[in-house]
């Protein structure tokens, strides 16, 4: 067993999908099996990595044997691990959905790009080097854009174009920040930087540039203009990937930078992020409420839910460990719920040939598993118990209340109400007979179950808050000075 423990599962988690993607390019006919094998392998590798981290604490691997700051280190603590688990599980669910979703012609296009995206995400969550993060960020962005445009329909092309420009702009701003940090402190390794940087003009400018760039890529209001058209026009599994995982990538980098580098001196800036998050909740929810199509509704819901993630910044003063735990938990919860929602929306589109909400026509009877998936995911998005969304919201509310942040608490409550409004709008019509009956196409059972299982995951995660916080605590034990603030449940 210990030999299994010695394997560098982190490297495997990056290499495996890369190899799979390359194999897809070489043998297009084998795309689907190669894809499924790689994704399953990644899940196993992440499980191995998780085991290793539980046993040995923080994972660090010096690529090339040089070690930071000269070389690049792979690095995983509890926070990274949770993001990796999120990616692996949600990716697995979406992959099994995509297995039936794409025609053979599209499958050849989808799988290699998705595998490269998966590799990029894994590499990103395993990175501890701000320039390496830039490369993985770009790789993520290009893959995401390529997937968005997959249908070749005009709205998808427009959405992808807007998305590409936004993501490139975001990356450039981030890279400029990297340049300033490097020239200020002489390293791109996060741990080294953390020891060296002082709040001076260059660091502040880097902070502004990187935050703005990453906020743009995460679609923080008002930089969210690109998200709804892209996420709504992409094929359903791709929308799920984008909303569940891709926006989390840039969010994770921002969080990491904040936790390790900027958090100590950037209180004012964190207030600004929190304010924008609150605005995002209100604006995104109101927009979602106005939509007449499911996918746009779900896309705007993502804009709103991203807002919740940013509320962590002003509330983070309670201690980094708690902030990281809350952020990881919220991100995970949203990833499960939102992917389930997009997949369910895809089923409904396939089923009725459209995604007009008012014409759902008793979908609840004719497509029960799908509507159940949508509803369960919706429960989590609304933040109603028993679900991970509820737990996440509870943690945030509790933090807000203990710090006297009434404004944020009220925004969260209102956001939950608005979310209930837009989700039950869909469900209400799903129960109702439409005036004109519609023809329907069969939906493969595998696709229904993929959506449902992800949604059930979003519910079950609600009972695993203690485990998530225990994982976060893994690295805090090593950073002993913060161990005192860890919650032990």
């Amino acid at each position: 067993m210990s030999s299994l423990l010695a394997i560098d599962w982190g490297v495997i988690a990056i290499l495996l999908p890369l190899a799979g993607g390359t194999a897809c390019v070489l043998w297009p006919a084998l795309s689907k099996p190669a894809g499924l094998i790689s994704v399953t392998g990644v899940v196993l590798a992440i499980a191995g990595l998780g085991w290793r981290i539980m046993e040995n604490g923080i994972y660090r691997h010096a690529v090339g044997g040089w070690g930071a700051p000269l070389g690049i280190d792979l690095f995983a603590d509890g926070l990274s691990l949770i993001m990796l688990i999120m990616t692996a599980l949600v990716g697995l669910g979406i992959s099994f959905y995509a297995r039936r979703y794409f025609s053979p012609r599209d499958a050849v296009r989808f799988w290699p790009i998705w595998l490269f995206l998966l590799a990029a995400l894994n590499a990103l969550f395993l990175s501890a080097d701000i320039f390496n993060l830039y490369v993985t960020l770009e790789m993520t962005g290009l893959a995401a854009v390529a997937l968005t445009a997959l249908t070749g329909r005009i709205d998808a092309l427009g959405g992808a174009m807007r998305y590409l420009l936004a993501t490139l702009l975001g990356s450039l701003a981030y890279l400029l920040g990297v340049a300033l940090l490097y020239h200020d402190a002489g390293s791109v390794d996060i741990a080294t930087l953390a020891q060296r940087i002082q709040p001076n003009a260059a660091v502040w400018t880097a902070l502004g540039l990187m935050s703005a760039g990453l906020a743009l890529k995460t679609a923080l209001f008002p930089l969210s203009f690109w998200l709804p058209p892209a996420h709504a026009s992409a094929p359903a599994p791709v929308s799920a990937l984008l909303s569940a995982l891709v926006v989390k990538a840039s969010f994770y980098i921002l969080l990491r930078l904040w936790l390790e580098l900027f958090g100590d001196f950037a209180q004012g800036a964190s207030m600004l992020l929190g304010l924008l998050g609150a605005a995002a909740i209100l604006w995104g929810s109101l927009q979602a409420l106005r939509q007449t199509r499911i996918k746009l509704l779900v896309a705007y819901s993502t804009v709103a839910q991203i807002g919740y993630l940013f509320l962590i910044y002003p509330l983070a003063s309670a201690g980094n460990g708690i902030a990281a735990g809350m952020a990881a938990y919220l991100a995970f919860s949203h990833a499960l719920a939102k992917s389930a929602m997009f997949l369910a929306a895809g089923n409904l589109m396939l089923f009725g040939g459209h995604d007009r909400i008012a014409d759902l026509d008793r979908a609840v009877q004719r497509l029960p598993l799908t509507v159940a998936a949508f509803a369960l995911a919706g429960v989590s998005i609304m933040g109603l118990p028993p679900s991970s969304g509820f737990v996440g919201k509870w943690l945030l509310l509790d933090a807000a209340m203990s710090q006297g942040r009434w404004d944020l608490a009220v925004v969260m409550i209102i956001g939950g109400l608005l979310a209930a409004g837009y989700i039950f709008k869909v469900l209400g019509y799903a129960f109702t007979q439409a005036e004109v009956p519609h023809d329907a196409r069969a939906v493969p059972a595998g696709m229904e179950w993929a959506a449902l299982l992800l949604a059930i995951g979003a519910i079950l995660l609600g009972f695993m808050a203690s485990e998530i916080f225990a994982l976060i605590a893994v690295d805090l034990v090593v950073n002993a000075d913060e161990a005192g603030t860890v919650w032990t449940a």
Partner: protein, 326 residues
């Protein structure tokens, strides 16, 4: 003093050209100005003692990007010609009136001025002497297997970045392929002079690429530069009407395309197995391994760039040979 004057002029020249390129009324002119801007950038790299970057910039930044832009513009002109109206080819909906009211434009200018001032201040406040990682690089150069520090960083110290870089290139091709081909366009007859030119230049390009690759170990040059020169040869051939046979090219093409990425992956696995350390070369073998990696990467880069050019310039997607089953 003379140097200062030159650098100042070059700096302002860059800014001026960029401004002109971005705001000229005619798109063709804009692209030509942009290419000129790229060449000036190459000069700036030389002034900054960065010959490797200068080579890459001249070949990729100015050369291939320029070719891509021009090809796309030509396609765009032809397309809007066919699809919309009988407007002339080049001035495609020229310089659309910039969006936004006077107020918002004023606000934007104000914001941008503020941000440039802030950035300038931040840059200015940096210490005037800093070595960065150059000491570390110099200390380990002997163990890296190559003598050119830039190559050492690219292929050894930060080889992992370069590995992901190869994936980005592959991803670009996949992305362009996944869009599907454009509508076929009738092939135009190619000028005899161009054909001769390409026939004459191709061997020279190949030779130059091989030289850059070889010399990259110890002097400016390397896989990216060599690959882009080779890619340029491909572009030239494509321009002069050369089209590889679809059936024959399927496999070799895909192999060439993935050679660099595949080499990195295999080497990564191998080092992980043998050395228990990802992408760690044994010091004695490092030079050879890097050369091998670079050679395969050069092929991949060249093919990638040529395919990208082809995809943008013409409707042919058969060449790329998407493995579709009818």
């Amino acid at each position: 003093m003379l140097q200062w004057a030159f650098d100042t002029m070059l700096g302002f020249g860059l800014l001026w050209l960029a401004w002109r390129a971005l705001n000229s009324s005619d798109l063709f002119k804009a692209i030509v100005l942009f290419i000129a801007f790229g060449l000036l950038m190459a000069l700036a790299w030389v002034r900054l003692n960065a010959p490797d970057v200068a080579l890459a910039e001249a070949a990729i930044g100015a050369g291939l990007t320029g070719a891509l832009l021009l090809a796309a513009l030509a396609r765009l002109g032809a397309m809007t010609d066919q699809n919309v109206s009988g407007a002339s080819a080049y001035p495609v909906p020229s310089a659309q009136p910039p969006a936004g009211s006077h107020f918002s434009r004023g606000l934007l200018i104000l914001l941008l001025s503020a941000s440039v001032a802030g950035m300038a201040y931040a840059i200015w406040s940096l210490p005037s002497y800093a070595t960065g990682l150059s000491m570390d690089v110099a200390a380990h150069l002997d163990d890296s297997g190559v003598g050119n520090p830039v190559t050492a960083v690219l292929l050894n110290f930060r080889g992992y970045d370069t590995m992901l870089e190869m994936m980005v290139l592959l991803l670009a091709v996949l992305g362009v392929w996944s869009l599907g081909g454009l509508q076929q366009q009738p092939e135009k007859p190619v000028a005899a002079v161009l054909e001769t030119l390409s026939r004459f230049l191709t061997p020279v390009f190949i030779l130059a690429a091989a030289y850059l690759l070889w010399v990259g170990a110890d002097a400016p040059g390397g896989a990216f530069q060599a690959g882009s020169v080779l890619g340029a040869a491909g572009v030239l051939l494509l321009l002069s009407g050369w089209r590889p046979r679809v059936r024959l090219m399927q496999w070799p093409l895909r192999l060439a395309l993935t050679a660099g990425a595949g080499a990195f992956i295999l080497l990564g696995l191998l080092t992980l197995l043998l050395e228990k350390q990802f992408l760690t070369y044994p010091v004695a073998q490092a030079g050879r391994m890097i050369l091998l990696l670079e050679s395969l990467a050069t092929v991949s880069i060249a093919v990638t760039l040529a395919i990208l050019f082809l995809s943008v310039s013409s409707g042919h997607k058969e060449k790329s040979g998407k493995g579709e089953k009818k």
